[in-house]
Symmetry: C2
């Protein structure tokens, strides 16, 4: 198999961190998103939606979507479980993963894509008012997440999960969106330093 990777972009990084936590090595094919290589003929044939990452299996089957690729590896290599275990555990990880995606990762991405000059050809049309509207949404969720982390080590509970990967990548993504974590969110920062200090965070 081969993983078409997008370098510093946040979704490809989510998959690389996931693989590092699992201890799985997959051959990587770098794709230069800055040069719009993800819109090349080859990549468009693999994923008509022109997004990365893309996983191509040995028989030519193509999987796209960050979380779908992660689930594939979770099924092949169940340990350590990064999507939770048991009915309630699985549902709890999914709940927090979606909360972090929809209320943090997504608003940060919108602020970045609709306000950053470098995104002018990526997000057409850029709607500055929509970019601005997303900034307070992201910051509000950080306060909520800070409270949730007061009584547990990781976002979804006692164990590190894909929700922590999405959270870590979101916080690091804030810089590009010109957002900073407000002062006083001590539980959030304690969690951030823990997950950012794991070897997988360098993936």
């Amino acid at each position: 198999m081969k993983l078409y990777d997008g370098g510093r972009a946040p979704n490809p990084r989510r998959v690389r961190i996931f693989l590092a936590e699992k201890g799985i090595e997959v051959p990587i094919e770098p794709v230069d998103m800055g040069a719009l290589e993800h819109k090349s003929e080859t990549l468009t044939r693999l994923n008509p939606l022109q997004r990365l990452p893309v996983l191509e299996l040995d028989d030519g089957t193509v999987l796209t979507e960050t979380v779908a690729i992660c689930r594939y590896f979770e099924a092949l290599h169940p340990e350590p479980a990064l999507f939770g275990t048991g009915a309630l555990g699985v549902a709890t990880v999914e709940m927090w993963q979606r909360r972090v995606e929809m209320h943090l990762f997504y608003p940060i991405a919108q602020a970045f894509r609709h306000l950053h000059p470098a995104m002018k050809e990526w997000e057409v049309p850029q709607v500055a008012a929509w970019g601005e509207a997303n900034k307070p949404k992201a910051l509000e969720f950080l306060s909520y997440l800070d409270e949730a982390l007061a009584d547990r080590p990781f976002i979804a509970g006692e164990d590190y999960s894909i929700a922590d990967i999405t959270g870590l990548v979101s916080i690091d993504f804030m810089k590009l969106a010109r957002l900073t974590v407000p002062d006083g969110l001590d539980h959030l920062m304690r969690w951030y330093h823990t997950v950012a200090g794991r070897p997988s965070a360098r993936a």
Copy 2:
């Protein structure tokens, strides 16, 4: 357990269709979203993010997020599998579920929330230019989905899955966003009539 339901809103409907496909009956607590009851003290205590549906278990544990609630029931009642089976099957359903959510359901929701006068107090600020920008995104994905459905009965392959539920609810949601399916998408419409004709669609 008890399911706090939001009537005609699309996410609560996704869960009701899912339960109907599984043949699971859950006590329903209706919540009048038109009267903003999902922002009441009781509901805010259950879900500080003030979204529906919310599942409250007998021990007081609360699960939110449509897909997390569905995954909980999938784990408790695996048959019929609506999230796929096997590593590749599970990943393929996740891939299509996310494609439909991000490129169809979400753009339709944005067009509705940012353009419909009734959403003025729900989406603050309404950004009309962003609502308009989402309409072509949704329509473009419908053409892509039409092609994908040319050689298979359901969105993720041979079997009905949660991706079909999200697709069906999205198409029905288009009316509120004042969008219509373009002519000539025959595979899409064949699929739509099949899934809309299942008894679960009335849930």
